[in-house]
């Protein structure tokens, strides 16, 4: 059963809404009307109820926008029984109603943004979408504009494992009110955004007391077991990032305290990395990697290990697992 207010809006625009469904059936071969009806009931209705409480006069426009977004999501099997995960559907039920004020004001934009963001983060291997939705839900009452929502989402995406968003998220956060910026970074104890930024900006492995920040990350693994690397990865450092070659494929590897992300790269970038790769002195002995006075326990056999380092990160690739272990170069 859907709410009366939502039912009234659907009934008032019945022909138009039905026409949209027919159009969606034509565009998306995977579109299933039953899945759509169920999503209206379980996902969209909650948003409609929340919007009605904010401003009933905006309900028809919001329902129209939500209806179109729902058609697209069901048509693309991003929600419903054929969806890869139920995270997006759950966000419509849990997170979206918490943002009812923003949705009421800008329904198409906010519903599209949030749906896209969840789909995007879900597609990043290793990213923690549940962390993003939980933290966004907690932050929702403090967000007053769409722009604040946009920036907060970007910061949370980085902190949920999208390491390649780090620089952009820190830069964007400068536009947030100080208290909101610190809250988005999980740094509510800090009193100055600028002081916090100075610390976090210069160390990819900065984590303070953040439970989600680690001193070590792992990426890849043998493709036969669902990983990304068909052959043992070769790694080269280039500035703050790494380039990786596995078989005939090339990747850009970005890692920090919150995650490690692989992006497609070109052969020329990998080849160029040999030129700029910094010198890195280390030795392998007795199951340990020795870098200066530091000793790092190895969890894989020594033979065949590939080791290199950027200014902030040590990367260790094993031919036995095809995985790359990434560690903060400095000790805390």
């Amino acid at each position: 059963m859907i709410s009366q207010a939502f039912a009234d809006v659907l009934a008032a625009g019945r022909n138009g809404f039905n026409h949209r469904v027919r159009e969606a059936q034509r565009i998306f071969p995977a579109f299933r009307a039953e899945a759509f009806l169920r999503f209206l009931e379980e996902g969209v209705d909650g948003v409609a109820v929340a919007v009605e409480q904010v401003d009933r006069s905006r309900l028809p426009a919001t329902v129209l926008a939500a209806y179109d977004v729902a058609l697209e999501l069901v048509g693309r099997s991003l929600v419903g029984p054929a969806a890869r995960s139920q995270v997006l559907a759950e966000a419509w039920r849990g997170l979206f109603p918490r943002l009812a004020r923003l949705i009421t004001a800008h329904p198409t934009q906010v519903l599209g943004m949030l749906s896209n963001a969840i789909t995007h983060i879900e597609g990043i291997a290793g990213a923690r979408i549940s962390q993003w939705t939980e933290e966004m839900t907690a932050l929702a009452p403090h967000l007053e504009t769409v722009e604040q929502l946009r920036i907060a989402g970007q910061v949370l995406a980085w902190r949920s494992g999208a390491a390649h968003f780090r620089a952009g998220a820190i830069a964007a956060a400068a536009a947030l009110p100080e208290a909101l910026a610190l809250r988005a970074f999980g740094a509510g104890d800090w009193s100055s955004w600028q002081a916090f930024r100075n610390d976090v900006e210069h160390d990819p492995w900065w984590g303070d007391d953040d439970l989600h920040a680690m001193r070590e990350r792992r990426v890849g693994s043998f493709s036969g077991f669902g990983g990304q690397f068909a052959t043992p990865p070769e790694i080269r450092a280039a500035g703050e990032v790494f380039f990786v070659k596995s078989g005939d494929r090339y990747f850009l590897l970005i890692a920090d305290a919150y995650g490690a992300v692989l992006q497609p790269a070109g052969a020329d970038e990998f080849e160029h990395a040999i030129v700029v790769q910094p010198r890195f002195d280390y030795s392998l002995r007795d199951g340990m990697l020795r870098v200066g006075s530091r000793r790092i326990d190895l969890d894989v056999p020594e033979p065949g290990l590939a080791v290199c380092a950027s200014a902030a990160t040590i990367a260790i690739a094993s031919p036995y697992t095809h995985a790359i272990r990434l560690l903060a170069r400095g000790e805390r």
């Binding site: 159009e23 565009i27 697209e72 519903l111 749906s115 980085w158 952009g168």
Partner: protein, 525 residues
């Protein structure tokens, strides 16, 4: 309305390549995804080649039903299947391939050249031409009104415009007669429907507009803007009411054929009927090109490089066709054009030609050679195709793919040639696109057999000459002359004369003459 299938353009890159990904990550990517938000309607700064590809894919996916991917590219081995008693090959290309029926008109639009659509009635020739007009920013109504429909009673006044009646009566001088020019003359995309139904005299007036870009009536001249031309004909051989004059046919740069409709796509046709959809009326505004954008695109296309290796292949191919050994007494006049101008019957000339391997000699397959205009068209379209594919250099495959459309009615086959008598070559009598592509492939095979990429003595001498004569002394000049004479001696020793050898010898004669003149000048100092 967020839901509009026909106006939707994919935001995904149309020609994705791993190496061109920006290394500066944009956090705004977080909000880009399958669902359109209001940001999607903001204009995005799209590169013109990407915009051209978006236009192509919009036409292929939304406007044209049943596209045929006959311009095939492969990124690796292609899957092929041999089909039927005739053993024809169905290829599943491993690279992004294109439909000539959409691509060639688009390249024509981008380069502002002239394209002829041919094919039976009701195959979408006019509709495709209208799409090109809309792409230039005109409304469908404007394009339709400006379209010239050929008919047997079409006069020059119908085509170009009428003198104002009052001026005809009152004018004391021709200069005082004002002309009401037809509005289509100022369009950036000009469409002439069924041009082979236009009377011959009116065709001549059309030729002036097409060739020289101006219209003239009663000594009054209208200068037309640079524009792309799209013409349609049910029969490319000119089988309308009037024979198309040769000069007009020669002005057409490419010919594309509207291939048959595949009934497997009938469902989409049904949707259009039921929904009353006319794709040309739904073209997304983001795909419209301004005149300045087409100008910029033209400049970018001309800047695409043709590497020496590709240029040499075209030179070698073009060399095959002009030679007619028995047509001239003097070396320079041994050409098919000499024979054509003399009016001699073709079969007499062919019968006189003996001694060469008429099966191996590609020149024996054609009745004519290539003109300068043909070669310029070929090079420009090859550049345009490379640009469309996002490349800064023309690849050999680009040239191979545009060649059949640029030479479609320019290189006339000789159906009596021994090549066409072979059973396996019988389809080439009717399928000119395949024949021309085969011809190019055969020329390339011969080029490789002769190892001309590595051993091109004539090319070396030409390069040496291209460095200039400043500082070249008398002794060096004499040495170069001797080298040319020696090379000619080697080339002609015991060999039959083929087209490429004929052109090499003429090039050597040219170099010899330039050095001879230079030597004379040196000695006069």
């Amino acid at each position: 309305m967020a839901f509009d299938f026909f106006r939707k353009i994919s935001r995904a890159p149309t020609n994705p390549r791993a190496t061109v990904r920006p290394r500066e990550f944009d956090v705004a990517d977080l909000y880009r995804g399958p669902v359109a938000d209001s940001d999607e309607r903001e204009p995005v700064d799209t590169q013109l080649d990407e915009k051209l590809r978006q236009a192509y894919f919009w036409i292929v996916n939304k406007a044209i039903i049943s596209p045929h991917y006959d311009i095939e590219y492969n990124d690796g081995p292609a899957q092929t299947f041999t089909v039927g008693d005739s053993k024809r090959v169905l290829t599943l290309p491993s690279g992004q391939s294109y439909s000539s029926y959409v691509l060639l008109p688009l390249l024509t639009f981008a380069t502002r050249r002239k394209c002829l659509f041919v094919g039976g009635p009701g195959r979408g020739k006019t509709a495709s031409a209208i799409l090109m007009g809309v792409l230039a920013g005109a409304s469908v109504r404007e394009v339709r009104r400006a379209m010239q429909h050929g008919h047997p009673q079409m006069t020059i006044a119908d085509l170009l415009g009428n003198p104002l009646p009052a001026d005809l009566i009152n004018a004391k001088d021709m200069a005082e007669i004002r002309i009401a020019w037809r509005s289509w003359l100022s369009m950036r995309v000009k469409i002439v429907d069924e041009y082979n139904r236009i009377p011959t005299r009116t065709q001549s007036a059309l030729l002036t507009v097409m060739g020289d870009n101006y219209a003239e009536v009663l000594n009054q001249v209208f200068e037309c803007p640079e524009s792309a031309w799209f013409l349609t004909a049910n029969d490319e051989q000119g089988g309308g009411n009037y024979q198309v004059i040769e000069a007009l046919r020669d002005r057409i740069d490419v010919i594309v054929q509207a291939l048959a409709f595949n009934p497997r796509f009938l469902e989409e046709l049904l949707v259009r009927i039921e929904e009353e959809v006319r794709p040309e009326e739904l073209m997304p505004p983001e795909l419209i090109f301004t005149a300045e954008e087409v100008d910029a695109m033209g400049r970018d296309i001309r800047a695409v490089e043709v590497p020496e290796g590709v240029r040499r292949r075209l030179e070698f191919f073009a060399s095959q066709f002009e030679l007619a050994e028995m047509a001239g007494g003097q070396f320079e006049y041994m050409t098919k054009d000499t024979a054509r101008l003399s009016g001699i019957a073709w079969h007499e000339l062919a019968a006189a030609d003996n001694g060469r391997d008429r099966m191996k000699d590609l020149g024996c397959q054609t009745r004519n050679g290539l003109s300068v205009r043909n070669l310029m068209t070929l090079l420009l379209y090859a550049k345009a195709l490379a640009y469309f594919r996002g490349n800064a250099e023309v690849e050999l495959e680009d040239l191979r793919q545009v060649l059949p459309f640029a030479l479609h009615d320019k290189l006339q086959p000789d159906p009596d040639a021994p090549f066409f008598a072979l059973p396996e070559n019988a389809p080439y009598r009717t399928d000119r696109v395949s024949w021309l592509r085969r011809l190019f492939d055969l020329a390339n095979d011969e080029y490789l057999r002769l190892d001309l990429d590595r051993t091109d003595a004539v090319g070396e001498l030409a390069k040496q000459f291209a460095l200039g004569l400043d500082g070249v002394g008398e002794r060096d000049t004499r040495a170069r002359l001797a080298r040319i004479e020696k090379l000619i001696g080697e080339l002609v020793k015991g060999r039959k004369l083929y087209g490429h050898l004929y052109d090499d010898l003429l090039k050597l004669k040219y170099l010899h003459q330039r050095y001879t003149n230079y030597l004379a000048w040196l000695r006069a100092q």
